[in-house]
Symmetry: C3
Subunit: 151 residues, 3 copies
Amino acid sequence: MSVYKRLEELGVELGAMTAPAASYAPFVKHGNLLYLSGHLARRAGQIWKGRLGDDISTEVGQQAARAVAVDLVSTMHATIEDLDRVKKIVKLTAMVASAADFESQHIVANGASDFFAAVFQGIGPHARSAFGVARLPLGSCVEIELIVGFE
Amino acid sequence: MSVYKRLEELGVELGAMTAPAASYAPFVKHGNLLYLSGHLARRAGQIWKGRLGDDISTEVGQQAARAVAVDLVSTMHATIEDLDRVKKIVKLTAMVASAADFESQHIVANGASDFFAAVFQGIGPHARSAFGVARLPLGSCVEIELIVGFE
Amino acid sequence: MSVYKRLEELGVELGAMTAPAASYAPFVKHGNLLYLSGHLARRAGQIWKGRLGDDISTEVGQQAARAVAVDLVSTMHATIEDLDRVKKIVKLTAMVASAADFESQHIVANGASDFFAAVFQGIGPHARSAFGVARLPLGSCVEIELIVGFE
């Protein structure tokens, strides 16, 4: 089944590619790898601010991670034009703004990982690291970068 | 000399591949690169909890980093089946749970780097980043991810 | 125009390759990718210590990030010997030592990104992540790692 069909079934609408917050590119292609820049969490077009273990619950953090994953797919779509050219989600890095005692960064990151598994099915499971950072640009609660194989 | 011979000489026994803590894969192959997910530190099968500069000393942190490196080699072995197929340790990223004034993340990371150098000898030295994070999943004191070239 | 000509115009002198702070390599080549280890910020040969939002301003952090970028180019030059062989700056990761309320890691990272854009022009813009970390090795205020495509 086409990736677009699955996005439709999940009720996901892709947005425009988010402009980077600074002087870099939202993606770079090298060979058949696509390096996607760290995408910040957004809600209704605004930065989704906060810190896990402080003013953001694990459940809301998961929703934020899923929102970042949707934006990453939007960037992929804008870049390679046909999401069915994706051959593998290779590597995901999830940076989670965390209070000193918050230990569930992996649960938060599942919001993105589960989404990629649902959308890209057999080629969705990826290598991953998740860790807690002091603070993210613009106060975003989550930032996710991605490496994707395509043809 | 074979990698297995060196592991034997070092008295290292490989374990089973550690199941990932969440919905992702322990590794992904892309071309002749192996991307290994961030592996958490474990001791006697339990998460090795703590924070450097707080309740974990630099020396103990090094031991934890070495334990992660052993687990990474176990995952490599489970994945490519023959460790002598490894052609290069390419890139190591060490995330060290750190108190605000702890500045020896590079010394901690040496626990892993020295192990790879000993086991993989001429092809063991790698590009590396090490940095201090607020907190890691499940309270692990160290998390390490790895990119490996193989044939 | 040659990369060396642009460096000259910018008044930038490349230094010797900085020796890594620990048991790893300053770079690793894999295929036509160059993985550069995380480089710490230095000023007059000493580690440029501090924390953004604490004892380092955003503007000074940008200068530190630019200094790291110069060191990264020095390492590239020492490695591939001819900077005109660089085909693409692929991915930059900026780790910024940050106080809990500092949210301008992306502005700090621009100190490096703008430099690469100026030196490598059309092939300089890169994928990027920037985030705030608890603390960096030796107390450095900024650490930057890089992936570069060359031929």
